[in-house]
């Protein structure tokens, strides 16, 4: 009960233990719940349970329906996301209690029932920002299911359990988009991470997969520990776990304590988004894990890390850019440069995509280095980048999975001659590679444009310098993306084997979705969905 009320209502304004205990004895006031706002998560939860039950009853007979069943669940959960988007109101859930001078909960009587008066600062907010990202995670989840369908069925892995875990992880991400509270964020993070640890080691007879899972788990737990320590410092300073309350309390705090708290919190997410120097797990995990799961880690899991980072930085530290910005600047420059340089030398396409993902994380971090001056632009740039990045990177993985059905290898050289035996896959891969490199008219350019635009809008030396570094980095990056394009277009097929690739319908659907989204962002007005006014920082306040 204590934990429930902590999560649900946020803790009281005073950090002292006695008052905490006093509250445990106080009567519990049920917070009003907006079921519409909660519908996507609840549907996903219910559907996950349904899938589990079907599996328990049906066992082998229903196994082959698991993938489509899970996929349909994601699409159904999309419906309330769309209706919420259509309603266009910001919903603030789980607001804090108001205490009087004696420390008692202020109540009022509404309709014959005694309810607590709420302070308007929510721990869980459903706004445009959250909805765009919920949509992103549901669609990514759907594409991941499409990517996994044949891979899992043909590899004879435990597919039913796999899809249940995917649902759980996506649920964690959904919660993450709305969480504006340290504890909700932590719970969401673990809800999405723990299934991922399991799934990374899914090919359990393969040593590399075991290594992948173990490394990922150890690093992940380590990062969680550091982050929790940072969060505990924040709570100690602010006396509340709600981000907006933290923002009010830390304005005048000393640099030292705050720097430590901010640093530790951000380092924790640095692991999730594989920012240099916390990226070392990524290449090994990506290579060893089942490829669809790698796509999941590289796209959805990373995006969720960024979502948490944006929420924390913009909502909890809006006035402490003096502490956060320099740190983000260094992190962004190191991440994009080192990621790119190492990616240049990769010969395995999955490792190359892993390091390219590290470099891309650098671009996504960049706007956060100027969030103090241009918070809304920084937020918009990050979210736009995340959406476009998800489409193009998932697409690239889809092509890799499809081509590997023939080549049975992840070496870039093995993709030679694809132009001759699979022109469709070649065209799709070209779209994704050039989008990743940021060449118009593929969507990647718009994402980069928004990042550059935010950096230059800030009109600071640091911002301009970072923009120039990022511009030069795009040239490094183009080299290794073009290297893949070079093999699939210019090189002959290894051993002259020009037999066709059979691309199953699920993969074709995944490719179609990702190509359309990638192109649409580049040439149309679609990026409107990620244009926020007001921004997440404004919305957290009552």
């Amino acid at each position: 009960m204590l934990l429930a009320s902590l999560v649900a209502s946020g803790v009281p304004a005073s950090p002292q233990l006695p008052s905490l205990l006093a509250q445990a004895d106080a009567p519990f006031y049920r917070p009003p719940i907006d079921w519409h706002a909660f519908a996507p998560e609840l549907i996903l939860l219910g559907w996950g349970a349904l899938v589990t039950v079907v599996d328990i009853i049906g066992l082998e007979r229903t196994r082959r329906f698991m993938a489509p069943l899970t996929g349909i669940g994601f699409l159904i959960a999309m419906i309330p996301v769309l209706t919420l988007w259509d309603a266009d109101t910001t919903r603030v859930l789980f607001q804090g209690l108001v205490l009087d001078d004696a420390g008692n909960v202020v109540t009022e009587v509404v309709g014959g029932e005694t309810v607590a008066v709420r302070d308007g600062i929510g721990a869980y907010i459903v706004d445009q920002y959250a909805l765009v990202l919920k949509g992103l995670f549901l669609l990514s989840g759907y594409v991941i299911v499409l990517l996994s369908t044949n891979y899992m069925a043909e590899g004879d892995y435990h597919d039913s359990e796999y899809y249940q875990l995917i649902s759980a992880a996506v649920l964690g991400m959904m919660v993450m988009t709305s969480a504006r509270d340290l504890i909700s964020i932590f719970v969401a993070l673990e809800l999405m991470s723990i299934p991922a640890y399991l799934m990374a080691a899914w090919r359990k007879r393969d040593l590399k997969s075991n290594e992948a899972g173990l490394k990922y788990m150890l690093m992940g737990v380590f990062a969680s520990a550091i982050m929790l320590y940072g969060m505990s410092l924040l709570y100690g300073v602010a006396g509340d776990t709600r981000l907006a309350v933290i923002a009010e309390s830390i304005g005048g705090e000393s640099q030292a304590v705050l720097t430590l708290a901010v640093l530790f919190t951000i380092i924790g997410f640095g692991f999730k988004v594989s920012a240099v120097p916390f990226h070392t797990w990524a290449p090994d995990t990506y290579e060893g894990a089942p490829t669809p799961l790698t796509a999941f880690l590289a796209v959805a899991s990373k995006a969720a890390g960024f979502v948490a980072l944006v929420s924390i930085v913009l909502v909890a530290f809006p006035d402490r850019s003096d502490v956060v910005e320099p740190f983000m600047w260094v992190l962004a420059v190191a991440t994009m440069t080192i990621g790119n340089l190492i990616a240049l030398r990769q010969t395995n396409i999955v490792r190359m995509l892993a390091y390219s993902g590290v470099a891309q994380a650098g671009y996504i971090l960049a706007p956060l280095a100027v969030y103090g001056t241009v918070p809304t632009s920084a937020q918009t740039a990050v979210v736009t980048y995340l959406v476009v990045y998800a489409a193009m990177n998932l697409g690239a993985f889809a092509v890799v999975i499809a081509a590997a059905r023939k080549t049975r290898s992840g070496e870039i050289e093995s993709f030679g001659g694809m132009l001759n035996y699979a022109p469709g896959l070649t065209a799709a891969m070209t779209v994704f590679l050039f989008s990743l490199a940021g060449i118009p008219p593929m969507g990647g350019w718009l994402a980069k444009w928004r990042v550059f635009s935010a950096l230059l809008e800030a009109d600071t030396t640091a911002g301009v310098a970072l923009a120039v570094v990022a511009a030069v980095n795009t040239v490094f990056a183009a080299y290794y993306y073009l290297n893949v394009a070079r093999h699939i277009w210019f090189m002959p097929a290894p051993d002259g084997d020009n037999s066709k690739v059979s691309v199953p319908p699920a993969l074709t659907a995944a490719l179609a979705i990702t190509v359309v989204v990638t192109m649409a962002f580049g040439v149309s007005n679609l990026a409107n969905v990620a244009d926020f006014a007001p921004g997440v920082g404004d919305l957290a306040q009552p």
């Binding site: 918009t380 736009t384 132009l419 022109p423 065209a427 070209t430 050039f434 490199a437 060449i439 118009p440 008219p441 350019w445 718009l446 980069k448 444009w449 928004r450 550059f452 635009s453 230059l456 809008e457 009109d459 301009v464 923009a467 120039v468 511009a471 030069v472 795009t474 040239v475 183009a478 080299y479 073009l482 290297n483 394009a485 070079r486 277009w489 210019f490 580049g522 149309s524 007005n525 990026a527 409107n528 990620a530 244009d531």
Partner: protein, 522 residues
């Protein structure tokens, strides 16, 4: 009809090639004739719409943006779909409309190894859309998108259908250009935020910069970013090294398009964007641009003299010729800029033609090594004479198109715009004049060693060596006619470009006198 042209003319012209490419994508590649027909039909249809636009164009108001379409596009970044034609873009659009169909006709029986005409022609069509779009775009974001769209097809054309060193050449081409355009992008954005503009439209930004008092140092830096983007594309010394590689390795069609149109995207960027928007910075940069242009002229010419490969020689001659164009631009006068635009068109026709010939020579001799060639006039007399004619045009013989690009550019350096150092530009003038002598030297040397003399032992009885085939006649004759016509009636281009160029030059002159005025005042 003219209603349609007003609203949809430019859009239809730009995107028709893309429609052709999309149709070709869904047709299986084995049916080669169909693909060639569709590609030709698409480019001819494009040209027809282009000609209708040209006929409907109001030549009394070359300064105004005509057939303008200004619609919202990507609202979130304030990018608009703003396309229009004026006297500055018209000659280059016309050049593109002419060259691409000729390239496709030439491709009828000249598909380079390893074949696959479907993909080859699709790439040319995408390229076509990119080039036309760049010339008509009046919004910086739209310009940037089209400017980059051409990278991709050219990369694949060089890489798949190129020569021995094609992979190196293609990636070099791509990375050089990308480096420039990445910095250009930063400049565009900096311009947008510094002026506090709510639009990326070029006319809008010209007003914004004029209305806001922006520090000269900032302007100079922003111009620097654009200079990298456009200068690499031109290419200017010292960023030219991608060009000889790309030209030499590219298939004939790629070389022709590269020389005829793609290089002009850079110089066009200078006259359309960099100079009008940032006139004060242009005055600061002009002496340096002039210097690099002169180095390019001499260096390109000397480079030509050192080449043993015919295609590589022509590529270096491009560096020299683009040097004249850049020198014309650097004078910042209406005379110089008019000459520069004429130079772009002339270079497009002449060097495009030279690359066609080089490609046909390569088809027959399977080599372009100058010392192994010789006696072209004996073995293929028509082609030999055309080579002779084109080299004459290229070295700037009066009466042919090359003259009107080169001579006025040199002349303009005698009296550059106010605010520029006259002595310095007169030195440039002398250097550039020496360059013409060198140009005569390397071009005549090329002609002498390939066309004159007797065929070498190696090729004397080679049955594959024959004179021109019909597709070559069809593809080349329009270019040859235009070289003569423009040589005799240069007014065809000058009359069109003069209006907008004068407008730009007046603004530059005003900025220059203002700067000179402050200098005296101090």
């Amino acid at each position: 009809m003219s209603e349609f042209l007003l609203d949809w003319g430019i859009t239809a012209m730009v995107f028709l090639p893309l429609v052709g490419a999309l149709i070709m994508m869904v047709i299986p590649g084995s049916d080669e004739e169909t693909h060639k027909t569709i590609a030709l039909a698409a480019t001819v249809a494009t040209a027809v719409i282009g000609v209708l636009l040209l006929l409907d164009f109001d030549y009394d108001n070359t300064r105004t943006l005509q057939f303008a379409v200004d619609r919202s596009w990507i609202d979130v970044i304030n990018a608009r779909y703003f396309v229009a034609l004026d006297g500055m873009s018209l000659p280059l659009v016309a050049l593109t409309l002419l060259v691409v169909p000729l390239v496709i006709i030439y491709s009828w029986n000249h598909i380079p190894s390893p074949g696959n005409p479907k993909v080859f022609l699709i790439l040319i069509l995408v390229l076509h859309t990119g080039m036309l779009g760049t010339f008509v775009a009046q919004d910086l974001v739209l310009f940037f998108v089209f400017f980059e769209v051409v990278l991709l097809p050219m990369y694949f054309m060089i890489g798949v259908w190129g020569g021995e060193q094609r992979m190196y050449a293609s990636i070099k081409f791509f990375l050089y250009t990308l480096f420039g355009s990445a910095l250009m992008l930063v400049s565009f954005l900096a311009l947008y935020w510094v002026t506090g503009s709510v639009t990326f439209s070029i006319p809008g930004l010209i007003e914004e910069v004029a209305a806001n008092d922006i520090a000269l140092s900032t302007q100079v830096l922003i111009f620097g970013g654009m200079f990298m983007g456009f200068g690499i594309k031109v290419p200017m010394f010292p960023f030219h090294t991608w060009l000889p590689d790309a030209h030499t390795q590219a298939p004939t069609q790629g070389s022709v398009i590269l020389a005829a149109v793609l290089l002009k995207l850079g110089t066009y960027g200078f006259v359309r964007i960099a100079l009008p928007i940032l006139p004060e910075a242009a005055i600061e940069w002009a002496p340096w641009i002039g210097l690099l242009a002169c180095i390019g002229i001499i260096y390109g010419a000397l480079g030509c003299l050192a080449q043993t490969d015919m295609k590589r020689l022509i590529a270096f001659s491009s560096v020299a010729h683009m040097g004249y164009v850049m020198l014309g631009i650097a004078t910042l006068t209406d005379f110089g800029i008019n000459a520069a635009i004429f130079g772009m068109v002339a270079h497009g026709l002449i060097t495009g033609m030279l690359f066609f010939i080089a490609g046909s020579v390569k088809d027959r001799y399977h080599t372009l090594e100058i010392k192994r060639l010789g006696g072209l006039l004996v073995q293929a007399p028509h082609m030999g004479w055309i080579l002779g004619f084109t080299t004459m045009a290229s070295l700037g013989l009066p009466g042919l198109a090359g003259f009107w690009g080169e001579f006025p550019a040199i002349l303009a350096a005698y009296q550059p715009a106010s605010g520029l150092d006259t002595t310095l530009f007169r030195v440039y003038m002398v250097v550039a004049a020496i360059g013409t002598v060198l140009a005569a030297a390397y071009l005549l040397w090329l002609l002498q060693r390939t066309a004159f003399g007797t065929p070498s032992e190696e090729f004397k009885d080679d049955p594959e060596i024959h004179d021109m085939v019909p597709t070559e006649y069809v593809a080349w004759i329009p270019l040859l006619i235009l070289i003569v016509v423009l040589g005799f009636v240069p007014g065809l281009v000058f009359d069109v470009t003069n209006g907008p160029v004068t407008a730009v030059a007046d603004a530059l002159e005003a900025a220059g006198s203002a700067a000179a005025g402050t200098a005296i005042g101090e």
